[in-house]
Symmetry: C2
Subunit: 329 residues, 2 copies
Amino acid sequence: MPDHPPGTEFDLILRYFAPLSTAEAGAYALLDDAASLAVSPGHELVITKDMMAAGVHFFSHDPPQTLGRKILRANLSDLAAMGATPRAYAMGLALPGDLAPGWLEDFAAGLAEDQAQFGVTLIGGDTIRAPDTLTLSLTAFGEILAGSALRRSGARPGDGIYVSGTIGDAALGLLVAKEQLDGIATADKEALLARYRLPEPRTELGSRLIGVASAAIDISDGLVADLGHVCAASEVGARIEANSIPLSGAAEAACRTTTNLFTNVLTGGDDYELLVCAPPSGDERLLQMASAAQTQLRRIGTIMEGAGVRVIGPDGDEMNIKRGGYTHF
Amino acid sequence: MPDHPPGTEFDLILRYFAPLSTAEAGAYALLDDAASLAVSPGHELVITKDMMAAGVHFFSHDPPQTLGRKILRANLSDLAAMGATPRAYAMGLALPGDLAPGWLEDFAAGLAEDQAQFGVTLIGGDTIRAPDTLTLSLTAFGEILAGSALRRSGARPGDGIYVSGTIGDAALGLLVAKEQLDGIATADKEALLARYRLPEPRTELGSRLIGVASAAIDISDGLVADLGHVCAASEVGARIEANSIPLSGAAEAACRTTTNLFTNVLTGGDDYELLVCAPPSGDERLLQMASAAQTQLRRIGTIMEGAGVRVIGPDGDEMNIKRGGYTHF
């Protein structure tokens, strides 16, 4: 091997990232110009890409152990929404010059944990010097039986609307991070913050939805906005019941103590739960699949003729949702 | 379709990027959570990823028409070095708030030109608000017969060393961009600057190298550094003749007028030419392939036993190359 002075790109790759690539021979230990990825016969690759920047999607002081995992999990959530089984990822890192000692080691250690948990392998990437702040880019690859990808466009009037897990924790966790949420117990604050920093992609559920769900999306922009995407793609409307939306104990506590916080639950981003539609005939099978995936799935409403998302409040009246979801621009 | 206010991420995607995705049905018009990519039977996917940031890899005032094409071409060059045929790409954009009017339109128009030239299609990506400066991220996908990817590690003593095109233009073009290169004609300056801004990936040559080349790499870090990578991976040394290195007319003029500029030619990055090794028995076939690809290919030296890269100067003495190539850190 040539001599790679500490701190060079080669050195970073060898020390921190090549060890994450060993499970995939086609990654060539990150030492070649590109990686090769063989796709199982009869399958196709599902590909998704995200970027996240300090100051926009996370805080510069967020723990490095969770930063790489957050963007990885956001991409795994996209794969789950298509019904794909996660396989590999490539990562781009624009690193500022003032990273704390041990930062990269912690960052890579976090990725290693998630690789083990989700069965994915790093197969390539690029590490550059950032002119200013940290920016991450990740492209994730999953496999799926050819032609079976779940789409946003298959919802039909009468279909049930379901969500996994709990909704709104990440949006409330962001308020905790900004020190804008008070009046709840410290443990609740920590639970919300943890969900903001480290989402739980529903990869076990996603691949089980094929043949059952009529449409799926992951909730990244906010419940109302992402359901709106399904409605637009499927040319239908939707009606959901506020009382049916599953909340964590911490989110319930927060909504009890602070007025109007439920709007954050409905419109906040970063949940990375799945929103799934299925015809009434599929209801039982869908809940069986959720049980097999050990994932909570709750029906929150119904797909309707028409267009747009209507949220029925606890009083039975339609709620007026001003802002559909998170937008960067 | 839902209403997408101008300037939102959805609006940007619909206006500028969805039109670039139409040739690949699995891109789902960039409207779903991920893309599907079917790989031809018997083939595997070749995947490469690059990041580039304003102030590090390009200038903020560089023309938007060439910026997207530069990172796309850098990735296509990696695919060519593996012998892969380009197929598709995903793009991440971190956009600052102060983009000039028309910037994105010009950026997308440049990409459209390259899509037509290189036969690739945009299949996904992410557009975020940059906290500071413009950062681009691109993942490119090519196809190759399973198991046939060209590697850096196949060079053997006695193999000829060849390079495509001309070497050093981009490094000298960077000096032009920084107004640090004088004494040559304006037309020569413009030619060098054009090569810095818009490399010429050797995709036609790359796919023809399979079964002929023993090793290949694209010259992105600099001729000496990248040949060094081949030597390290192949556990061999190399000897190249300075007089054999192909220079453009503009680079020759620059090297004639300014002392020591030839070092920039040997060590400067961003050429995106191919460096190819082949056994003596393959020499004739290799040059036939270059001719078929309408790409100039010149032999510049020989793979040796041992380690490291030796450059023999015009006087027959070994040159002392201080800096092996471009490093970001």
